[in-house]
């Protein structure tokens, strides 16, 4: 079966490759580009571990047909830090013990970034809503919610 050419921007860099029909974006990112930050969780859109931003909006890469990102901008956790410095969200997660096993963390961070990019001063309810599609089996969510609020404050202070 013929492969399909695909071009998109991955964390600010142009990517061009050929994909098999029906390949999902998560497979492209992890297996073809080598960006292992989006995690494979359920493959059904139920856990949020594979969350990435497409043109700034949170999407589930496991349910995104690769061809659907043609010409679009895909942002993953691998692209959010600035040089050697952690993104304020990453720092807040580390300082606030908002990760235990860490498997959900990339998806949580991207869901949180999608929120803070649009709403710099979110309420607690808005944070809960933003991560409501992301499952964490370890933390009980409270440290994550607090870390997102702390990161929002940090981002506002540095703006």
């Amino acid at each position: 079966m013929a492969k399909t050419p695909l071009q998109f921007r991955h964390n600010g860099r142009d990517v061009a490759l050929f994909v098999d029909g029906g390949t999902n974006l998560l497979v492209v990112l992890r297996e073809m580009i080598g960006d292992l930050t989006p995690k494979f969780g359920c493959g059904q859109g139920g856990c949020g571990a594979c969350t990435v931003l497409i043109d700034g909006d949170a999407h589930l890469s496991c349910l995104t047909l690769a061809e659907a990102v043609e010409g679009r901008a895909v942002e993953t956790l691998d692209g959010i830090k600035s040089g050697p410095n952690l993104h304020p969200l990453q720092r807040a997660f580390a300082e606030g013990f908002a990760a235990q096993c860490g498997y959900c963390t990339p998806g949580m961070l991207m869901a949180a970034k999608a929120l803070l990019d649009k709403i710099p001063q979110p309420s607690r309810e808005q944070v809960v809503e933003a991560i409501s599609g992301n499952i964490c089996r370890c933390t009980g969510y409270e440290p994550i919610i607090n870390a997102v609020l702390a990161a929002a404050a940090s981002l506002r202070a540095s703006a």
């Binding site: 079966m1 399909t4 098999d20 029909g21 029906g22 390949t23 999902n24 493959g43 059904q44 859109g45 949020g48 969350t51 909006d57 949170a58 999407h59 589930l60 496991c62 349910l63 995104t64 047909l65 061809e67 659907a68 869901a111 999608a114 929120l115 809960v128 809503e129 933003a130 991560i131 409501s132 599609g133 992301n134």
Partner: protein, 273 residues
């Protein structure tokens, strides 16, 4: 296994391709089809997409509003004119799912999903289908009953009634995992009143059958009566009639039948769930 992906500019071309290939599935937002592909569904040989901008349109100007099949729930939530549908859109998935899932795709979501369709069913939804015959409209109830036989036609849009007042339409999703999760029961009620009496009540239930269904016995209990405690009690008592829920990890069929009347009573009475 790789599949053939065909992307068309026009919805009519996509519909033609869909009707001529029994192993083809139309991909809207991807939340159903991609899941099946990820699970290795070998019955899908072709994935068909359309970039037609008419599928993204929203016409909220008239008494009946029309929503293109490709409109996402995030778009619905961004549209002030569709405020009466916001509770239904907001009850679906997390933000990422709402950025992807579409109004058209939701019509095909099996229980315990398909919550937006429950709202559309209560609002006298009409589904526009494009096939080799052209475009035809079908009442949503008829569409849902024959959904599995509509594989060769492309849903291009849905229309529904705009409720006359905020109180005339009520929606509630009962879920065990809050704020989001699959539905234990989803309820929607359109309750127009004339001269102090209910006229043309439509009550729809989700997760009480393989597709969204109308609670017709409950509707009859309200019809022509003042919207008072007696009518509400009668509707609640009749809520489970004609339902056929199944067991799943969220609730048993028995539990759903037991509590549907309780939740309908609360919805109609304006009580918190």
């Amino acid at each position: 296994m790789p599949v053939t992906v065909k992307t068309f500019q026009a919805a009519s071309e996509a519909a033609s391709a869909l009707s001529s290939d029994r192993a083809a599935r139309y991909l809207g937002g991807g939340t159903l089809v991609m899941r099946d592909l990820n699970e290795g569904d070998v019955s899908i040989a072709t994935v068909i997409r359309a970039t037609d901008r008419t599928l993204q349109g929203i016409d909220a100007a008239g008494a009946r509003i029309r929503i293109g099949a490709g409109v996402t729930f995030a778009r619905v939530l961004a549209e002030r004119d569709l405020a009466f549908l916001h509770p239904a859109a907001r009850s679906i998935g997390g933000p990422a799912v709402r950025n992807m899932g579409t109004v058209g795709g939701n019509l095909f979501a099996p229980a315990p999903f398909g919550d937006f369709t429950v709202a559309l069913l209560a609002l006298d939804g009409i589904v526009s289908l494009q096939g080799s015959f052209g475009v035809r409209d079908m009442p949503i109830e008829e569409f849902l009953q024959s959904r599995d036989r509509q594989a060769g036609a492309l849903v291009v849009g849905v229309s529904c009634i705009r409720p006359a007042s905020a109180d005339a339409f009520r929606y509630r999703k009962i879920a065990r995992i809050k704020p989001k999760g699959g539905s234990v029961i989803t309820l929607a009620a359109h309750l127009p009143q004339s001269g102090g009496r209910v006229t043309g009540a439509r009550i729809a239930l989700g997760s009480m059958a393989p597709t969204a269904i109308r609670a017709k016995a409950a509707e009859r209990a309200l019809e022509g009566r003042p919207f008072d405690a007696g009518a509400i009690s009668a509707a609640a008592a009749a809520a489970a009639e004609g339902t056929a829920p199944t067991d799943n990890s969220l609730a048993s069929a028995w539990y759903r039948r037991e509590v549907v009347g309780v939740h309908l009573r609360r919805l109609l009475s304006g009580q918190e769930s």
